[in-house]
């Protein structure tokens, strides 16, 4: 590097995640050379063998930007969230799980006991005659073996530590990440703390590429496989539930362009507290029935409203878990 400007220190970490977010970072393809020209990747478990201990030994605020993906599901996730908060100047919740709880957050429909029972004794593929269950600590003659403690609740990153920015998406669109990264490198003025960056402020529907009319009157909802999509008109008008009305724009309509309805991974638009509640409001508005029995018949097609409308956002919604 010719300039005197020191290189940025960048970290990427995954907690309760599928790995897709890390892959979305890799999707910068050859732009990776621009990234490494401006930044050193100091910690990225999916790519390099750097130990937690090495991070623990770093001075505080040593890392400039940490992209934290994944929800907080166990004590290891929580430890790393707190550690990376301490070591980073800017902590970014990267991707739906970190931003909203994401798919792992759906576990909040169950308790820890229910999950363990299902996985270690009841599931069709489980063979566990001795009823062996994982323990956080186990003594062997060489010493004590330990596993992270599995929590009852899945939490988003901001429910555990202070977060500077949120980049939504499952996974976030790589182009948006590059924009954000370029802005940080160029020293441009950053948005206020707590902002959602790398996305719009309005809903998907505002600029949707599909054709919309005022004619949103639904007498039956269909699952996507039950109808022949015409490829042009609004999914809702065809009776297919699309999360567009309650979802932030900025993803580039990847699903819609692939002829699939929006699933809501970008989370609620600015000003909306609870995306699922907004979606219920929207869905109920377009049902074209007035008698309670008829309305209930139409609603029978919405088999799992909680799971559908809160697919990515259960842990951050108003009722953030099933009551116990």
């Amino acid at each position: 590097m010719e300039g005197s400007k020191p290189k940025l220190k960048l970290a990427v970490y995954w907690a309760a995640a599928c790995g897709g977010c890390c892959v979305s970072v890799l999707d910068v393809h050859e732009k990776l050379f621009d990234v490494v020209a401006a930044a050193d990747l100091v910690f990225w478990p999916i790519a390099f063998d750097i130990k937690y201990r090495d991070v623990e030994e770093m001075p505080d605020q040593n890392i400039d930007v940490t992209l934290f993906n994944g929800a907080v599901r166990n004590s290891e996730n929580e430890h790393m969230a707190k550690l990376l908060r301490k070591k980073s100047k800017i902590l970014v919740a990267y991707g739906s799980c970190s931003h909203l709880g994401g798919i792992p957050g759906l576990a909040n429909f169950s308790t820890k006991e229910e999950l363990f029972r299902r996985v270690y004794s009841e599931s069709e593929s489980t063979v566990n005659p001795d009823n062996v269950n994982p323990l956080p600590e186990f003594e062997v003659k060489e010493g004590v073996l330990s596993l992270p403690d599995f929590y009852n609740d899945v939490r988003s990153l901001t429910q555990v530590v202070e977060v500077d920015y949120f980049i939504p998406g499952c996974p976030p669109q790589t182009e948006r990440l590059l924009e954000v990264f370029t802005a940080i490198v160029s020293g441009a003025e950053l948005p206020p703390k707590g902002s959602v960056i790398g996305a719009g402020t309005k809903t998907q529907c505002d600029d949707c590429i599909r054709k919309k009319t005022e004619n949103k009157r639904i007498k039956k909802f269909y699952r996507p496989w039950e109808i022949q999509d015409d490829g042009v008109s609004c999914f809702m008008e065809q009776g297919v539930i699309c999360m567009g009305p309650a979802t932030r724009e900025g993803c580039g309509y990847r699903c819609i362009k692939g002829n699939a309805p929006c699933r809501g991974c970008y989370g609620p638009p600015t000003g909306v507290i609870d995306p699922g509640a907004k979606m219920m409001s929207s869905i109920a508005s377009i049902i074209d029935e007035k008698e309670p029995e008829e309305i209930s018949r139409v609603l029978e097609d919405v088999v799992d409203p909680a799971g559908l409308f809160y697919r990515f956002s259960l842990p951050v919604s108003l009722i953030r878990r099933k009551l116990i």
Partner: protein
């Protein structure tokens, strides 16, 4: 200690709030557990309002609007009815008893019906006991 339920009632301005007002001006007595929130139309009630009432400690939520066909804004109460039916499905999944959320039509002349409704709903909620939501939400903090 005796359980004294907290009930939030959303009443539409044109029929139900006037009906509740009539109960008052006619000096009818009804249970004081209900906290009334006046809104312009039952169609204004977003599911968020109801969920927020529960998370903030309501043991029951009562929604009242104009009778079908009588809405001041033509169709607001039908929207309310659809949202209510969807919400019932949702709260059941989340583990809140559906009896805790009630929708009734109260016209401006039905002061007596309003008083009876509040009394019977308060009784239902008292029998159900406190809503578990507050305890469950505490786990996190």
């Amino acid at each position: 200690m005796e359980f004294n339920p907290r009930i939030v009632a959303f009443l539409c301005n044109w029929c139900s709030y006037t009906g509740a007002d009539l109960a008052g001006t006619s000096r009818m007595e009804y249970k004081s557990n209900v906290r009334v929130v006046r809104i312009m139309c039952s169609g204004r009630i977003e599911p968020t309002f109801v969920l927020r009432a529960f998370t903030k400690g309501a043991d029951g939520v009562l929604i009242c609007g104009c009778h079908p066909g009588d809405c001041h804004y033509q169709e607001g109460n039908y929207r309310c009815l659809r949202r209510f039916l969807l919400l019932q499905k949702y709260i059941l999944q989340m583990g809140i008893e559906t009896e805790r959320l009630k929708l009734e039509w109260i016209s401006a002349s039905e002061g007596k019906q309003f008083a009876e409704l509040v009394n019977s709903f308060t009784e239902t909620i008292t029998e159900l006991g406190p809503c578990k939501i507050k305890d469950t939400m505490k786990v996190l903090t």
